[in-house]
């Protein structure tokens, strides 16, 4: 009990002795994790959009006018045999024209003057959820491109490419920027603790010389770093959630925040605080005498 009381007392002394730097540490952790948190939430949203688009991806095989019923049926059966294909529906030329007419609505009268149906028949392929990947769809599309009964194959390749690029970019920027921010936070927390060690140098030297265990000496500093990291983590969670909800309610509807998000961000703060402190204090204690 005495030890615990002492630990808290020393932690408070530590905070007081480097109040400015402790505050700076908390603000740095808050700012770093706030940015990281926003990045993460942005990534979650882009991922969500990507998933949604993946779900909507449809492969359309436009058939040549001369394609026979047997040929079309062979293609459909071939597609059905693939595990990732959910449905492969044949759309006749007539059905395509009806759809087009519906889409045109009031303007459908322009079709009246056409003597023949210009729209091709097609096979619309939908994919099973969770089975979609771009490699597979490109491979399927590729296998039909050379087919003499096929006019063209479409699946929104440009969009899929762009989305993939955005995802990769966000992940790369998030990793590099996040890593840099974490390193800066680690250095600032380390500096705050170094200053704290410096202002209490004599006391720590005496403790070391009279035979205090390493953990008794390091304990208050670790506690200080831990508290700074935790406060920073909590503030960052609250701030980023507030910004997120503001954007969500005023601007655009966003994906739901994962339940673990605030806890994970606080945990990163705890690790950051304790880790930065441990590295700094261990190095400083060696230099005391």
């Amino acid at each position: 009990m005495d030890r615990l009381r002492r630990l808290f007392k020393e932690t408070v002394i530590g905070f007081r002795s480097s109040l400015l730097l402790s505050t700076l540490s908390i603000l740095t952790v808050t700012f770093t994790l706030f940015l990281l948190g926003l990045f993460y939430l942005f990534y979650v949203n882009v991922n969500q959009i990507a998933l949604e688009m993946d779900r909507r991806v449809q492969l359309v095989i436009y058939l040549a006018d001369g394609a026979t019923v047997e040929e079309v049926e062979r293609m459909r059966v071939g597609l059905f045999q693939r595990p990732e294909v959910k449905s492969a529906r044949y759309i006749s030329k007539q059905e395509a024209l009806e759809r087009f007419r519906e889409e045109l609505g009031e303007d459908s009268s322009i079709l009246e003057g056409l003597g023949l149906n210009p729209l091709p028949a097609s096979i619309e392929v939908d994919f099973k959820e969770g089975h979609f990947d771009q490699g597979t769809i490109r491979e399927i599309a590729g296998s039909f491109e050379e087919n003499e009964h096929v006019e063209s194959v479409e699946f929104g390749a440009t969009w899929l490419d762009r989305l993939q690029l955005i995802k990769t970019l966000i992940a790369a920027i998030g990793t590099a920027g996040g890593g840099l921010l974490l390193a800066v936070a680690l250095v600032i927390i380390g500096s705050a603790i170094r200053m704290s060690v410096f202002t209490r140098k004599t006391e720590l030297l005496v403790m070391k010389m009279v035979g205090c265990a390493d953990w008794t000496i390091k304990g208050p500093f670790l506690m200080e770093g831990l508290i700074e990291g935790t406060i920073g983590g909590i503030l960052a969670s609250l701030l980023s959630l507030a910004v997120y909800h503001l954007v969500d309610s005023r601007l655009i509807g966003l994906a739901l925040v994962p339940l673990y998000y605030p806890l994970a961000l606080t945990l990163v703060g705890v690790v950051l605080g304790a880790g930065g402190t441990y590295l700094s204090v261990t190095g400083q204690l060696r230099k005391l005498w």
């Binding site: 005495d2 030890r3 030297l205 005496v206 403790m207 010389m209 009279v210 035979g211 205090c212």
Partner: protein, 230 residues
């Protein structure tokens, strides 16, 4: 109590700070380690405190050997050693009594025992009248007395003093040396480090003279020597 067996220690740059040092200091013995700056005096203190380990040879302190002691055992060993510095290293924001009790507080001594121990040491060293004073209100000699009090409050087997009179006037220095001699007579092994060879003039002691990391001479001055030489 203290034994150095062919100890060598290199500096981080690779140069030898101590080379093949062998000496012993027994229980209650007063030892003066002397030599110019850079001769390795402070390194010997660091080795005794097990702050550093020798590169060659071994150091045995109160039964603990440098080649077998584990890191977590070093604090336990240090509780058997008291340390006095040239610049006292007192805690400025604590009173004399608090400076003494601090040691017992951080090493987990019970409060009642700690209080009586602080009172005893303050009485023995004549610190009672200044128990509520802060270090800055004391003279150099008085501050060093407090530092000695702090070093012996745990009844150590060994007392190390790094240039203990370096910042003191002649009278205060004599008073401090008298105190250290008395502590030695009570059974504590006292090791003093100083650049002054005549620091313990008139006091029986072992003198180890260092030069460029090696021992130049070990000599002993007994009471008979002193009476013979007048």
């Amino acid at each position: 109590m203290i034994a150095f067996h062919e100890v060598s220690k290199r500096l981080p740059g690779g140069r030898f700070d101590l080379r093949n040092i062998t000496f012993e200091a027994s229980k209650g013995e007063l030892t003066l380690i002397t030599g110019p700056s850079g001769s390795g005096k402070s390194t010997i203190l660091r080795l005794i405190m097990m702050e550093d380990r020798p590169d060659r040879g071994k150091v045995v302190i109160a039964g603990s050997s440098s080649d077998t002691i584990r890191r977590r055992e070093i604090p336990v060993l240090r509780r058997k050693i008291g340390m006095v510095f040239q610049d006292f290293k007192l805690l400025q924001e604590r009173t004399v009594a608090e400076n003494l009790s601090f040691v017992l507080e951080v090493t987990g001594d019970r409060k009642i025992r700690a209080r009586s121990r602080v009172m005893k040491v303050m009485t023995d060293l004549g610190l009672l009248p200044m128990q509520d004073a802060y270090p800055e209100e004391l003279s150099g000699g008085e501050q060093q007395k407090v530092a000695i009090g702090r070093a012996i409050i745990n009844s150590p087997l060994i007392l190390l003093a790094d240039e203990p009179t370096g910042n003191l006037d002649a009278d205060s220095a004599a008073e401090i040396l008298r105190l250290l001699k008395e502590i030695g007579m009570l059974g504590t092994t006292v090791v003093l480090v100083s650049h002054r060879q005549d620091l313990l003039k008139g006091i029986p002691h072992q003198r180890i003279e260092l030069r460029a990391g090696g021992i130049q001479q070990i000599s002993r001055q007994s009471i008979q020597d002193m009476t013979t030489h007048g």
